[in-house]
């Protein structure tokens, strides 16, 4: 009986915390279904209207679908680049014969890179991209996001790569497997959970990234976060459109949370507990 009462009290407390998380989201989604006047009047009840969503998605003053396309391309491509570089690199650094100082130096640099504000890097990239004609291209942003996410991916893949049993590697070697065959047939299946976790997070972080995308993109290469910020910056802030666009941009994260929660949790907690 006491245990039951305790459980009920704890669940109620969790519910209250859950409301603090969920209510702001619901209020903003609801704001997306208002008209600007209804929002500014601040009435509690309102007649839902699709006008803001329609304007964000289909009007000439908004390029949201195009922005979403850019974000998806940049997200998928930069994730692929990060994952390949991180998996191969982690194998090389942790399981092949390198001088120790070299391994430590590279991992330390990856750590420092992670700490540098992206805006500072964006300054350097901006000058470089202009120099080689990659400014205002998707490729420039893909490479930038791949670099931003590489330290995290390298760290995560390192944790998994070190766990690959040496016996299996030697057995494969005895069977005459070359390095690519070994990596493809033996290592990759074993590190697949890490691959999935790192992949989901790389994509989410690329989709969310704003500081670099803002400065390395122009009209036709702008990503979703850049488009959302734009609604707040016009001469008159377009509140309901901003709410609608923000709601739409949350969809990928929601979907991933539904289908890949395991990998997200694994990825985010990796390293802190180990």
């Amino acid at each position: 009986m006491r245990a039951l009462r305790r459980e009920v009290v704890l669940q109620v407390l969790l519910l209250l915390c859950g409301l603090v998380v969920v209510l702001p989201f619901l209020w903003v989604v609801a704001a997306g279904f208002r008209t600007q006047i209804s929002l500014l009047m601040g009435d509690f009840w309102f007649t839902p209207s699709l006008a803001a969503f329609q304007e964000v998605l289909f009007s000439k003053t908004s390029a949201f679908l195009h922005n979403a396309r850019n974000s998806v391309i940049i997200g998928l491509a930069s994730t692929a680049v990060s994952l390949v570089a991180a998996t191969l690199g982690a194998w090389s650094l942790h399981r092949m014969r390198w001088p120790r100082w070299w391994v430590h130096l590279l991992l330390l640099w990856a750590l420092v890179l992670q700490m540098i504000p992206p805006v500072a890097l964006a300054g350097g990239w901006f000058v470089m991209a202009r120099g080689v004609g990659l400014d205002n291209t998707l490729i420039g942003l893909i490479l930038a996001h791949a670099t931003l996410n590489l330290p995290m991916a390298l760290w995560m893949m390192g944790v998994f790569v070190r766990d690959v049993p040496q016996d299996l590697v030697e057995a494969a070697r005895l069977d005459g497997a070359s390095t690519p065959v070994l990596l493809w047939r033996v290592v990759l299946p074993l590190v697949a959970p890490g691959f999935a976790a790192a992949g989901v997070l790389c994509f989410v972080f690329s989709w969310n990234e704003f500081a670099v995308a803002l400065n390395l993109s122009m009209r036709d290469t702008a990503t979703v976060p850049v488009a959302i910020a734009k609604f707040a910056q016009d001469f008159e802030i377009r509140y309901v459109q901003m709410a609608a666009a923000a709601s739409l941009s949350a969809i990928p994260a929601l979907l991933l949370l539904l289908v890949a929660q395991r990998w997200i949790v694994k990825g985010l907690t990796l390293g802190a507990v180990k």
């Binding site: 601040g42 420092v112 707040a232």
Partner: protein
């Protein structure tokens, strides 16, 4: 041969795209750059930017604000996150559901968090203002009042990242050995003693890792400030990322912005070295 082949993609990213822009900034910091007809003309100014930086009140304010912001936000997130994790670890049902729900803000773009709270905190029609009115409190201009604007941004950041601390702490709590707690219960320890003498010491490594990780991320804050306050009112919420952005990109003073970025990177190096030294000292003691 395979050694280099497998390392090369990561090496290219780390050096050509990681180290080169930093070196670029270092060089740029000694120059003035003018863009004319899409071509850059560089003129050498020596250490003039760095000398100016030392007397730049705005830069000083933004360093102070960033530190205040990072410490305040991370402290709030750690405390609330720990309390929430303790709560969640004690329930027997629905733990996976609550965890999924609480992660939600972490996965959202910073700019969306900024947009959301710009709406919620709006003094004229925001939900928070309406809530205050409902319980008979005076409306507060959260983002427009210079005295509380930084505090408001800290609150938003706490809302955004508490779930991340919660997640790490919950994972840590779930991996603690059960038998220690059973022994404590047999010895008649109450809940506070258990927390103070068992949970906190065992969780210490997780707490330190979470603190350092969050502090580093908080130091890079940009998105929320960009949308919520734009550094204002005045210099109340000016943070280093935003100041660099303004100098480098909106004012087109690439040389000065680069010098500022180099100074910030150097500062981060110093903090990293200090943290490493502190750790060595603790381990030696």
């Amino acid at each position: 041969m395979w050694r280099w082949a497998t390392l090369s993609p990561a090496l290219v990213l780390l050096l050509a795209l990681g180290l080169l822009p930093v070196l670029n900034l270092v060089v740029l910091g000694f120059f003035d750059v003018r863009w004319a007809d899409g071509r850059a003309s560089w003129s050498f100014v020596g250490t003039r930017h760095y000398a100016a930086l030392a007397g730049d009140a705005l830069f000083g304010a933004s360093i102070a604000n960033t530190m205040l912001f990072a410490l305040g936000a991370v402290a709030g997130q750690m405390l609330l996150g720990f309390a929430l994790a303790l709560l969640c670890s004690k329930v027997t049902r629905g733990r996976v559901f609550w965890r999924a729900l609480f992660i939600l803000p972490v996965l959202m773009p910073g700019i969306v968090i900024g947009a959301m709270w710009k709406l919620l905190l709006n003094p004229d029609f925001g939900a928070i203002g309406q809530l205050f009115e409902l319980v008979g409190l005076q409306p507060v201009d959260w983002l427009g009042n210079a005295r509380i604007a930084l505090f408001s941004v800290v609150l938003v950041d706490v809302w955004h990242w508490t779930p991340f601390c919660f997640l790490l702490f919950l994972a840590g709590l779930e991996s603690l050995p059960r038998d220690v707690y059973e022994a404590a219960t047999v010895d008649g320890a109450d809940a506070w003693q258990e927390l103070w003498h068992i949970t906190l010491p065992l969780m210490w490594p997780t707490i330190v890792v979470t603190f350092v990780f969050r502090l580093v991320l908080a130091f890079k804050v940009f998105d929320e400030v960009y949308l919520l306050t734009g550094g204002g009112p005045g210099t109340a919420t000016e943070v280093v990322s935003f100041t660099i952005y303004q100098r480098f990109f909106t004012e087109d003073r690439a040389g000065y912005g680069a010098a500022m970025a180099v100074a910030v990177i150097f500062l981060i190096f110093l903090m990293l070295a200090a943290a490493a030294a502190a750790r060595r000292r603790v381990q030696a003691a």
